[in-house]
Symmetry: C2
Subunit: 342 residues, 2 copies
């Protein structure tokens, strides 16, 4: 077996506020060797996800990364050594790679997904044909459960997840309204992602009035990626039996000390709202079922998407920090090395 | 047809804080006459419900009572005139009577329910065999959906709804923990309503620690009648995939100006919680199905209950105010006139 040197990004310090590049370090050591049943992946793209804020926070999280450990992430790469009957050298796979050049994976239906290049570009396996689309799919269709004719409101509406939510809701016959920050993103919502209307929350000082105008029949489903003040305002404009998918809390910088907001339970009671938290990993059993739908919609040209690709692992921490400043223009990926399929 | 004089309690002023007797007035006029298909009920008991705070508030509600109108409520009485083939003179019925001596009702499967005295005392048709039990049943079993072995936490645990929730959860094989105010109610929880443990929230300055001790395996279902600070604390002790039934907001005195509390969305996201508002009226189609279960459990001696019966319509406003001071000892009813079945 060849011995590979492995550059990887580790978490140096846990975050008490929004992620900054200083929380991370880059180190180089020997790549691990795949054991029996395992395979070694040479990574090509890895992801920066809004949820990572929680993984590296001092507060408890569902996917905490230990200090000194390689930063956790999804990635796509090529199998360069395999001791598993399920993977062959040269296979392209999506896995939980972390921010590093080489990753050892244990193939399994939940841990590794083979990529068919006929479906789309390799990077799309992490965006419109990958986790951001899956997040949109389950959070909207399984948790939010919109019906045709209902109004679906989406925050971070031009983002990787939000833009997929809006387009999936449209496919299901809903009226779609996006909330995004800045005229460029609002234009993307309207022109590229097919929203019926879009609100620039940074340009309005009366979000309630803007919601009433954009959602004249009220809001049936709110797919929320931000929480905070926007969520508080939306909650008082939900229709009876409305549903809120809580997918992200990007608007809140830190949870220590605990931040405050408007009390929510009266709106929940009076309008019989259902507010439900949602994490993609819980739906691993159903990924293939969802991807069958998503690939079909993609082939039919019903889904537009954008990627923002940072160059090199060293830029991964800055790319992550940019997510919370809203500087990324689409699904944030990091190109670990040149894409051999292009 | 005999002409009856009708005393009734009307709403004089809408409430901006907790209900007080001064908001109401008592008036006397001729009882309405039943039209075609209608019946006249001579009321015996009417109810005072925690939800009435919302009905008479200046804030929008699902069941607002207009100023000058008879206070809305459930009641049980005897049919004294009937122009409906569905009701006969002498039938005992539960209906939306309001706080008055005589009520005209239009019989229908959703509006009027006949009472069989063989099931229990007449007053029980408004308590353990009536709306408080139905509220507990649907809010717990349809919304909270506990599984055997799970921990169910209940606020206002010794109250009419709470005590039924605790006992229904026990019947379903759950560990039950009550939150109540004062040693007397905590003793009721343990000794009369079968809770595995009970917390006196007034006697602890560290509810979080008390919850950890009483719920060593965390909380799977929280049946909430109060909201406020207690809800905030409970939310950070819910197990993954926990469910919260929002049935009442008794802890919050008024909603104008909007009160604040801890932000909730992070707990909802990280633990995939489902918070759902619940109003009994939405389940009218299923009342009979639920009452079949409840009557059976009652016959089997599995359900204890308490009633607190105020004498006379003039005491109804004070009885309502007492609910929010926690002075009532069980389901709060008002005896409009002597119970002819006793």
């Amino acid at each position: 077996m060849a011995q590979h040197r492995n550059r990887r990004v580790i978490l140096k310090t846990r975050a008490t506020a929004l992620p900054t590049p200083e929380l991370f370090d880059i180190v180089e050591d020997d790549a691990p060797e795949p054991g029996d049943g395992e395979a070694l992946i040479h990574n090509i793209y890895v992801t920066a996800d809004p949820g990572m804020k929680g993984w590296i926070s001092t507060a408890v999280n569902y996917a905490s990364v230990e200090t000194g450990a390689t930063m956790n992430s999804f990635g796509v790469g090529i199998v360069v050594e395999s001791n598993s009957p399920h993977l062959a050298e040269g296979d392209y796979v999506v896995a939980n790679t972390g921010w590093q050049e080489y990753s050892v994976v244990t193939p399994g239906p939940k841990s590794v997904r083979k990529v068919d290049l006929a479906d789309g570009p390799l990077s799309a396996s992490l965006s419109v044909l990958g986790h951001s689309a899956l997040t949109a799919y389950f959070g909207l269709l399984h948790v939010g459960q919109p019906k045709a004719g209902e109004t679906v409101l989406v925050s971070t509406a031009a983002g990787a997840v939000g833009s997929a939510v809006g387009q999936f809701a449209k496919i299901k016959g809903c009226r779609t309204v996006g909330i995004a920050g800045g005229p460029e993103k609002v234009a993307l919502c309207r022109e590229e992602f097919g929203y019926d209307d879009a609100i620039d929350y940074k340009a309005t000082d009366d979000l309630a009035a803007a919601l009433k105008e954009a959602c004249p029949e009220g809001i049936d489903v709110y797919y929320d990626n931000v929480g905070g003040d926007i969520l508080d305002t939306v909650l008082s404009h939900m229709n009876q039996n409305g549903r809120v998918t809580v997918c992200g809390t990007a608007a809140t910088e830190g949870w220590v000390p605990p931040p405050t907001g408007l009390r929510f339970e009266r709106n929940v009671l009076v309008n019989r709202l259902r507010i439900q938290g949602f994490i993609l990993f819980d739906f691993q059993d159903k990924y293939e079922e969802a991807l069958t739908d998503i690939r079909q919609w993609f082939k039919e040209g019903k889904i537009n998407y954008r990627e923002d690709i940072a160059e090199g692992l060293a830029n991964a921490p800055a790319a992550l920090a940019g997510l919370y400043q809203g500087t990324n223009k689409g699904r944030q990926l990091i190109r670990v090395r040149p894409d051999p399929t292009l």
